[in-house]
């Protein structure tokens, strides 16, 4: 094994084990409850607001693709988008989805179409509302500004991976009076979403939110597994801090292996 990666490997095995255990529990039917996340509870309120105001909902699954390190954020954003699409179909409110990465387009189209189908509103599905704009970061952002300024969504969802355009997107949404719910695991962009949005899913809340909204027992079980993994890491850290303060370098050596 590569020196310096041995401990990471075994920790990964333990974390995967805890996830599998969580999924097994969920499949056995053991109820899993997660704590209240304000941003998730506000999704229905935001779509309802759009219905009352007769204005559309705008959703972006971020600027990340599906084959890079940010892929997990895009998947989580697409899962939340499915829930928003269900609500939009149910409440008869147009859903505009703007896409930056070409490979995300078919996934978004499929997800929204499926939601409309499941709600029995397939005729209300408008394919042209799922819009690929540009794969160039600021060209995409400029096009989203234009769409928001002209179509004035009453609810604006910014979920997934964002970079320097994050504050600008949230600012324009705020300018047109949209109720904004944002979520990203790009920690450098979280401050902007907190400042300019009504609700913000911080880091892992995005992934937990996606699993929670899916209602899928396997995904819910993965949240349990993640919490178990975090508890293991916290215990490891606690033992390491105590050992270090007692003069032992055991944990430093162990983690360096």
């Amino acid at each position: 094994m590569v020196q310096g990666r041995v401990f990471s490997f075994w920790l990964l095995v333990v974390l995967i084990g805890s996830m599998l255990y969580g999924m097994w529990r969920a499949r056995k039917g053991i109820a899993i409850k997660i704590r209240r996340i304000a941003g998730l509870n506000a999704i229905e309120e935001a779509v309802g607001r759009a219905t009352e105001m007769g204005r559309p909902v705008h959703y972006t699954p971020g600027l990340g693709g599906i084959s890079a390190a940010e892929a997990t954020q895009t998947f989580a954003a697409l899962a939340i988008m499915g829930h928003v699409a269900h609500l939009s179909a149910r409440m008869d409110v147009p859903l505009i989805v703007t896409i930056r990465q070409p490979e995300v387009l078919p996934l978004a189209e499929e997800s929204v179409r499926q939601a409309y189908l499941e709600e029995g509103k397939v005729d209300a599905y408008v394919p042209t509302n799922i819009r690929f704009l540009s794969n160039q970061q600021f060209a995409y952002a400029a096009a989203v500004f234009g769409i928001m300024a002209r179509e004035k969504p009453a609810a604006n969802f910014l979920m997934g991976a964002f970079w320097a355009e994050a504050l600008m997107l949230a600012e324009v949404g705020s300018e047109v009076g949209a109720l904004q719910i944002a979520g990203t695991a790009q920690l450098s962009q979280v401050p902007f979403f907190i400042a300019a949005s009504d609700y913000c899913l911080i880091g892992e809340e995005l992934f937990a939110g996606a699993a929670y909204l899916s209602g899928d027992p396997t995904q819910m079980g993965s949240i349990f597994g993640q919490d178990l993994g975090k508890a293991i890491v916290a215990l490891l850290m606690l033992a390491g801090v105590i050992a270090t303060n007692m003069g032992s370098s055991f944990f430093s050596t162990l983690l360096g292996k």
Partner: protein
């Protein structure tokens, strides 16, 4: 006043002003530049895409005999089958490959950089205020991200502290980024008033 005579500088300056005019409100000049930007970037992407196919696939295959590269080329072509109803299911295969790669990349980087290195950074002597804040802060923020338990009692106090600590960190990050953005804005103003209008040097 020494106004630039370069067409390039004039175009860049007028486009900059048109984009900035959005701060006032949506207008025809912004719309023109918005469409120009999207169109130019589409053309740019097309040229880059062709360059990638030529340099990373066609040339290595034909010139160097690396025929294994035909696999990603076929996977790429399969993406277009979504336009044919009977073959549309084939487009899911390359998407699944890409999603698999994305998930694998995310996992491989996460354990080492975001877990092991974080734990190692906390193995410090608790003999300074800084070190105590680092260790207690890490536990507090970690407590905030437990989802299976309501934030009540001791966990609630710890998670609440974690939330405040995160807000302090986000505030600092916000301030430093805004300063960075201001310097970008100043750079554009220098371009407009210096390179274009020649009012400043």
């Amino acid at each position: 006043m020494n106004v630039s005579t370069s067409a390039e500088v004039w175009i860049a300056s007028l486009v900059t002003i048109a984009i900035m005019s959005f701060v006032y409100k949506d207008n025809p000049f912004y719309r023109l530049v918005e469409n120009l930007y999207v169109g130019v970037s589409a053309g740019h992407a097309l040229v880059l895409g062709w360059g990638n196919i030529r340099d990373l696939a066609l040339v290595p295959m034909v010139r160097d005999g690396k025929w294994v590269l035909v696999i990603p080329v076929i996977l790429g072509l399969m993406l277009y089958t979504r336009y044919f109803k009977k073959l549309a299911w084939l487009s899911r295969i390359p998407l699944a490959v890409m999603m698999g790669i994305g998930t694998g990349l995310a996992i491989s980087g996460t354990v080492g950089s975001q877990i092991v290195n974080q734990v190692r950074a906390n193995l410090v002597k608790l003999n300074t205020i800084d070190n105590i804040i680092i260790v207690v802060g890490t536990f507090a923020v970690l407590a905030y991200f437990f989802f299976m338990a309501e934030h009540k009692g001791a966990l609630g106090v710890l998670a609440g502290g974690g939330r405040y600590l995160m807000m302090v960190a986000f505030g600092a990050a916000f301030g430093s980024t805004v300063m960075g953005r201001m310097s970008l804005f100043i750079g554009r103003l220098q371009y407009l008033f210096g390179d274009w209008l020649g009012l400043i040097r």
